[in-house]
């Protein structure tokens, strides 16, 4: 069916937002894309004259694939754990009849959102860091506290602080939109609680769960400050590589090339996740 055309009034309503988006989002990204094809002269600042593909070809090195892989891998694992932690919290907040429990969960989540992330990261560093009281945890699971692997665990803990409250808040809305009568109906027909959760609640919550996962994943892979503070310089996300190029070496074209690749990869991930949501829950397409 052909979509109806937008009226002049609707266009006028959309115009301010569209202009703002063009100025604040499209223009800087376009400028970054252009910059990524410029050459860089060592010892100078920013881009030189002319055009080159070198900023992209040098990223073909296998080492860079590792950075992209590491960023996406840690992001994926953290998002999955965040979902596991956030789902019961959100379900409890949405379903509990006890006001004190609901208020406590909301208080915790909103408190975590508003508390300075940097303060929390340094608290994690002091507690879980190489000399922190919980550093023995690494030894317990066979990852020495001074190793890079342990730094990756610290980064994951830092990211969880960042994404668990966000995921839980998204999921509270999801669970609130699922009628409790459906769960009660299943229970009245003799289904045990676990079966109600697995066969009724979770399938109905699937679009919300995937949305929460997608947002958590996007927040993880684009994060800069968590690997910067907790990564000890040995766990580097692609955002850290970009920062070094823009800020420390003043090689803007190379930093821009990484940015363009990250932008494309993030777009692909979001596209496939959206397709997955539509496949799992066709009604979400509408």
């Amino acid at each position: 069916m052909r979509q109806p055309r937008l009226s002049a009034f609707q266009c006028a309503l959309l115009a301010p937002g569209a202009i703002l988006l063009a100025v604040l989002l499209v223009a800087p990204i376009a400028l970054m894309a252009v910059e990524s094809f410029r050459p860089f002269v060592g010892g100078r600042v920013g881009a030189g004259a002319g055009w080159t593909l070198r900023n992209y070809t040098e990223l073909i090195e296998p080492a860079y694939a590792f950075y992209f892989y590491d960023t996406f891998r840690i992001g994926f694992i953290v998002s999955a754990i965040a979902l596991l932690l956030a789902t019961p919290l959100a379900w409890q907040a949405a379903r509990t009849k006890r006001r004190a429990v609901r208020v406590s969960i909301f208080g915790l989540l909103i408190g975590l959102l508003f508390m300075s992330l940097v303060a929390r990261l340094y608290a994690i560093q002091m507690t879980w860091g190489t000399n922190g009281p919980l550093a023995f945890f690494g030894t317990l699971i066979g990852v020495p506290a001074r190793s890079a692997g342990y730094a990756a665990i610290q980064v994951a803990i830092g990211l969880l602080h960042f994404v668990v409250p966000m995921s839980a808040i998204i999921l509270i809305g999801t669970f609130q939109n699922i009628s409790p009568r459906l769960e009660e109906a299943a229970a009245s027909l003799g289904a045990p609680r676990w079966r109600v959760a697995l066969t009724v609640t979770l399938p109905l919550a699937a679009p919300g769960l995937l949305s929460a996962f997608m947002i958590a994943f996007a927040m993880c892979i684009s994060n800069f400050v968590v690997p910067l503070i907790l990564g000890r310089g040995v766990v580097l996300f692609t955002t850290n590589l970009m920062y070094v190029r823009f800020s420390d070496v003043a090689n803007f074209p190379s930093g821009a090339a990484i940015g363009v690749i990250m932008f494309a990869l993030a777009g692909l991930v979001i596209y496939f996740m959206t397709q997955l949501v539509r496949w799992v829950s066709p009604e979400a397409q509408s």
């Binding site: 860091g129 190489t130 001074r146 890079a148």
Partner: protein, 367 residues
């Protein structure tokens, strides 16, 4: 209703908008009458603390006002920050060191300084200044500093005589090193020199670094003074290569041996100070030079460098006796000290940073 009505809000907005538009020139006039408003970029930690003390007294005397901005990351980061904004930058003075000054001079952002307008510079030896192609003085050198290997003696079981010993198993995960961009790659240079190389023959340094990374010796890679001070003060790492200013902060709390006089390596000397940034307003430039000159006067140069643990550039200033064991007598200079070719190193830093990412960081990550 107690809330603000739409009409009141519009009135207030219009009034404040008009007020701010008309008020700006008035504020400029007021600033000119009371002195100039300057924006100075400074390092954090001890640098900003001592600078604030110096400037508080200066402001009371001259009427000039100083706002501070701190370096984020290495000092070179300020260059990347200025570039996209140039020439619309508000910085009047930027603290930095030789390679950062070279990059800024190349971009033509720095105002030349003269001995006539800044009399305190007459005392400072000419060798400390960075110059442009015309031979004009382009910087205000305030400190003689250096980068050295060192270690916490309370955390290392027996003394280190040579940095070759850093490959020993006892140092696994205990080394703190700067990212090669930091200190313009002096880490690469010291490692290269250890194996017979130099700035232009850096390959031996990469081989040494690979050995350290493969064996898991590198526990932390730092980007700035604060990260270094945290890593060394917490005991997370016990051996490091970094600048004397940051070492001095650690030495205030913990026993530290700075290896400035080792037989098979060197201490790397450089100068820190101010660059006066070009501005359209000559009054601002004059005020910036006034303030920089104040920092170079004997008493203030001494006050500035004393807590930093760096050497004053003004020969009439006294050096902190605590750093006597670190710096060199004229006889020792040739044997233990090295002044790197920073201009050449600055041109290599980009490729070194990429090589680190491609060859070293993955080794550290997997170790």
């Amino acid at each position: 209703m107690n809330g603000l009505s739409r009409r009141t809000l519009l009135k207030v907005s219009a009034a404040s908008g008009l007020g701010s538009t008309m008020g700006l020139p008035a504020m400029d006039i007021a600033a000119a009458q009371q002195g100039e408003q300057l924006l100075v970029v400074m390092w954090g930690a001890a640098w900003i603390e001592v600078s604030r003390k110096i400037v508080d007294a200066y402001v009371a005397k001259t009427g000039d006002k100083v706002a501070w901005e701190l370096h984020a990351g290495g000092a070179m980061a300020i260059v990347a920050k200025v570039k996209p904004a140039w020439p619309r930058v508000n910085y009047n003075l930027i603290s930095g060191w030789d390679p950062v000054f070279r990059a800024m001079i190349k971009e033509d952002w720095v105002e030349p300084v003269t001995l006539d307008e800044m009399p305190a510079l007459k005392d400072i030896p000419p060798v400390f200044f960075q110059k442009n192609a015309k031979g004009e003085l382009m910087t205000v050198p305030l400190s003689t500093a250096g980068a050295f290997w060192g270690y916490r003696t309370d955390l290392v079981d027996k003394p280190i005589e040579s940095i070759e010993q850093l490959l020993e198993p006892r140092f696994k995960g205990k080394l703190c090193v700067p990212f090669p961009v930091n200190l313009t790659g002096l880490l690469m240079l010291t490692l290269a020199m250890q194996r017979g190389g130099n700035e232009r023959n850096i390959e031996p340094g990469w081989q040494f670094l690979k050995e350290l990374a493969e064996r898991g010796q590198i526990g932390r890679v730092i980007n700035n003074n604060s990260e270094f001070i945290n890593a060394m003060s917490s005991g997370e790492t016990s051996v490091a290569f970094f600048n004397i200013g940051a070492w001095t902060q650690v030495r205030k709390q913990f026993p530290v041996k700075i290896m400035s006089k080792i037989k098979d390596n060197k201490g790397f000397l450089f100068n820190e100070g101010f660059a006066v940034i070009k501005q359209n307003d000559p009054k601002k430039v004059a005020a910036a030079k006034r303030l920089a000159n104040h920092f170079a006067t004997p008493a203030i140069n001494e006050q500035y460098n004393w807590p930093l643990g760096e050497g004053p550039t003004n020969p009439k200033s006294k050096a902190n006796p605590d750093i006597a064991d670190v710096f060199y007598t004229p006889d020792e200079l040739g044997q233990y000290a090295y002044i790197a070719d920073f201009e050449y190193m600055a041109s290599q830093v980009d490729s070194w940073a990429k090589r680190w990412e491609q060859e070293i960081a993955p080794l550290i990550r997997r170790s």
